[in-house]
Amino acid sequence: AQRVTQPEKLLSVFKGAPVELKCNYSYSGSPELFWYVQYSRQRLQLLLRHISRESIKGFTADLNKGETSFHLKKPFAQEEDSAMYYCALTPFGAGSYQLTFGKGTKLSVIP
């Protein structure tokens, strides 16, 4: 069974400050990891996935298998980054389909 832990329910940072949203996972096999975001009054949407190794809206996330972590980072927070962020995991490979989500972290960027 897989598990995703997001230790912070709420994270408040000032505009321009660095942001790090923590995500730890538990899974015995090889995982595929994602960050989903939900802006106010909008639907849940994919922000980034670790296999893409890309930066979206200035956010990056590196999979650290040794620490079983997939923290989301941004060097300079913007007000429009305020949202709920969910880390999610699926077993990697053909036939995998079930996404397991963490409980989410609410990011509040203070102007």
Partner: protein, 114 residues
């Protein structure tokens, strides 16, 4: 439509009533998922369809929950004899292929059971 559409957006039911929640996935998407999101929690998997086949229903919390996708497009999640603990947002998501990853979510149906 441009995205996944769910209806109703809000539903209030008296305890013991049956409810039906509808999901219109993005046209051509093979995979369809239902998730339940309780207040303050992340989405929790309920069930998965690949076309019309329900391949996994392991997340359905009880036999009062039933989902179908008879023609491989629109899906309905039915909850019989609703209980207060069923109060949650029910999210539908679809994806293009059989392997998930980028799920496209609907806005959800918020169910409140009194």
């Amino acid at each position: 439509g441009a995205g996944v559409s769910q209806s109703p957006r809000y539903k209030v039911a008296k305890r013991g009533q049956d409810v039906a929640l509808r999901c219109d996935p993005i046209s051509g998407h093979v995979s369809l998922f239902w998730y339940q999101q309780a207040l303050g929690q992340g989405p929790e998997f309920l069930t998965y369809f690949q076309n019309e086949a329900q391949l996994d229903k392991s997340g359905l919390p009880s036999d009062r929950f039933f989902a179908e996708r008879p023609e491989g497009s629109v899906s309905t999640l039915k909850i019989q004899r609703t209980q207060q603990e069923d109060s949650a947002v029910y999210l539908c998501a679809s994806s293009l292929g059989p392997i998930s990853g980028e799920l496209f979510f609907g806005e959800g149906s918020r169910l409140t059971v009194l």
